[in-house]
């Protein structure tokens, strides 16, 4: 029994350490399994911003606590409670995935700690469950898909084959696309999450006679699908419209198989803005790979915190003033125009992107055209704040 008590005591000590710093930020990202690629981008982007500010965001010595959500909502919840109660962080920045954000949302906002999402943007948090303590430096999930829908309509594409994974984000994608697109939809296909072999779906595509394909296949699914789609020869027959499928996270594996395919989001590393160019150059020099939107949004999240803390003169106790300062969004975003809507989601431009090869042989996305100017999400009206 004594041994058990000792062992328990040791565990408690190990899990219960704390230390004091001026500005403490908890970063909740996924660092396990294949999605770790995305979590790493966010971690690297955020750290780069801290370095650029000489370790001081808002003039305060900044300590960063990085925790791994393991893409398990219950694990994320446990660790976030650790950040809040043990480490007493002033800000929580996270997450990559909506289901993890849903798990940590209530405890973080209830503790009156500001939560800033560098990626996940589920519709409920933009709409009826919007919260004074929640901000997003990314987008509402549907917006990238709306961009593709609007583009498809403008291009006069007559028929579309839709394929997304069978989960909530996949269904949001279909909904977002349909909001602006009113042409014919030949098929709506939902694949299992983590799908391996797309040959059955590709056969359906060729049979459908659709003019374009709309898809959302993040991570490894995207790599597999793009490769198999290219091999099927359909790439020459159908326009490939996608979001989170051909981006800087997947292109290193997809390479030329993705060349010429379309994506849509709020920024591209090739964008011709001085702050963006500097960021991409610094990032590549430091981490050795091309940053994607995940890293950009994390960098912006750090800049946002920096601007707000600076505006209140480092006084983190006055939450009301801090919120006002955050809402002002008084920083130079890497993507250019940036302002917060009433629901604390950004008002920003959205672009159609195209996969291109750089002079050094690496692949990245370039802006094909601007689709939305100062776009707001469709759920802001439901937000009573």
């Amino acid at each position: 029994m004594k041994k058990l008590a000792c062992a328990l005591g040791a565990l408690l000590m190990a899990t219960g350490m704390a230390s004091a710093e001026d500005l403490k930020i908890g970063l909740v990202v996924t660092l396990s399994g294949p999605p770790a690629v995305l979590g790493k981008q966010i971690e690297d982007g955020f750290k780069l911003a801290i370095d650029d500010k000489d370790g001081k965001l808002g003039g305060l010595d900044t300590e960063l606590f990085v925790v791994d959500s393991e893409l398990k909502p219950d694990v994320a919840l446990t660790r976030v409670k650790g950040l809040l109660e043990r480490d007493q962080v002033d800000f929580v920045v996270g997450t990559v995935f909506s289901n993890v954000l849903g798990a940590i949302f209530k405890p973080v906002t209830r503790s009156e700690t500001f939560l800033i999402s560098p990626n996940a943007g589920p519709s409920t948090l933009a709409g009826r469950n919007c919260n004074p303590y929640f901000f997003s430096t990314s987008y509402q999930n549907n917006q990238n898909f709306e961009t593709l829908g609007k583009h498809a309509k403008e291009q006069g594409i007559k028929s579309v084959f839709m394929m997304t994974p069978n989960y909530q984000a996949g269904r949001d994608a279909v909904e977002g696309f349909k909001k602006y697109y009113d042409g014919e939809i030949t098929n709506e296909v939902y694949t299992p999450l983590g799908h391996q072999d797309f040959s059955a779906e590709i056969a359906q595509m060729s049979d459908s006679g659709a003019e374009a394909l709309f898809t959302f296949m993040p991570g490894g699914m995207g790599v597999r699908f793009v490769k198999q789609f290219r091999e099927s020869g359909l790439a020459d027959k159908m326009t490939f419209l996608s979001a989170f499928t051909v981006d800087e996270a997947t292109l290193p594996a997809q390479k030329e198989a993705a060349l010429g395919f379309f994506g849509a989001t709020n920024w591209a590393p090739s964008m011709d803005l001085p702050q963006s160019k500097k960021f991409v150059a610094d990032f590549e020099a430091k981490y050795g790979y091309i940053p994607g939107g995940f890293a950009m949004q994390a960098y912006d999240a750090a800049l946002l915190i920096d601007s707000a803390v600076r505006a209140v003169g480092g006084d983190l106790s006055d939450k009301e003033a801090l919120r006002k300062a955050l809402e002002a969004a008084d920083f130079e975003s890497l993507r250019g125009d940036f302002a917060f809507n009433n629901n604390h989601f950004p008002i920003q431009d959205f672009y159609l992107l195209r996969v291109d090869q750089r002079d050094d042989g690496k692949f990245w996305t370039v802006v094909d055209k601007k689709v939305f100017d100062d776009h707001t999400d469709s759920f802001a009206a439901e937000c009573k704040m």
Binding site: M1, L4, G16, K81, R86, K106
Partner: protein, 334 residues
Amino acid sequence: MTDRSVTQDRAPQGGATPARRFGDAGLLAGLAILLVLALMPQITAVAGGSYVLNLVMKAMILAIAAISLDLLIGYSGLVSFGHAAFLGLGSYVTGIALTEGIYGALPILGLVLLICGGFALVTGAISLRTSGVYFIMITLAFGQMLFFALSSLSSYGGDDGLTLWDTPDLFGAYVFQTGSGLFYSTLVVLALTWLAVGRIAGSRFGRVLRAGKESPLRVGVVGFDLYRFRLAAYVIAGLFAGVAGFLMACHTEFINPSTASWQNSGTLIVMVILGGMGTRNGALLGALFVVLIEEALSRYTVDWKLIFGPMLVLIALFAKGGLANLLARVGGGR
């Protein structure tokens, strides 16, 4: 701890092992563990803080599910690979009831018991036609079916899950609100589960189950309908796990289909084996150990599985009978 030889002398017919399993030593050790758990709010107030208390609470909830699973694995020889389904079902019934405006803890618990019991009765009736590894796989099949069914409930968040904005109340008292209220409620349920499974194991019912584990044929010859006994055990285990699901929904204030995933079922099995199956405190120790060690290791490295994996292998190789037996051996060796 009590001298082992004494308990062995008092062993009932059927060999020395049950004595060590169900002797006073196990009972005392279990009570001591529960006592330590009961004092956790005071202990963590000194060291660790409410974060550790939260962690302990999560371990206690999983322990309820693990102990109920041990009734199947340890006592009945029925390795269910779908036990997390009941956790998931219990939490979803709770979450959906709260969303639909049912706030009373008693009606919600009634629904949880009804639905989990019904699910256990139907899936158990089919699964128990098989045995051994076929039973493992058919319970997995039912677990997976439930997982996909929960994932497709898009009006309740689909696989994104659903944040719960309300807490069940018991006649106006918020004993299930996350914090000390929920802690003591969980403790009570845990203690009751531990006592109940201990009692069941020692009863005639439990002896039939155990005899069925050793030799199903013999039990049949003696005249017991083993199928019914097993089905009853399966339903009882499902009910306890369902209540654990209810507590989990209250604790996390969030429901998500991954609670019912096969990975989670696997973790529950690991807890039971690791702790020592068919022992009074094995599942309880296993759940505490897995949750706390995972969290402690992950503080040091993201790649904590590099340490945890070999640890499991070593325990499997060298600690026959799991942690409970290891402790008993250390205790008995003095």
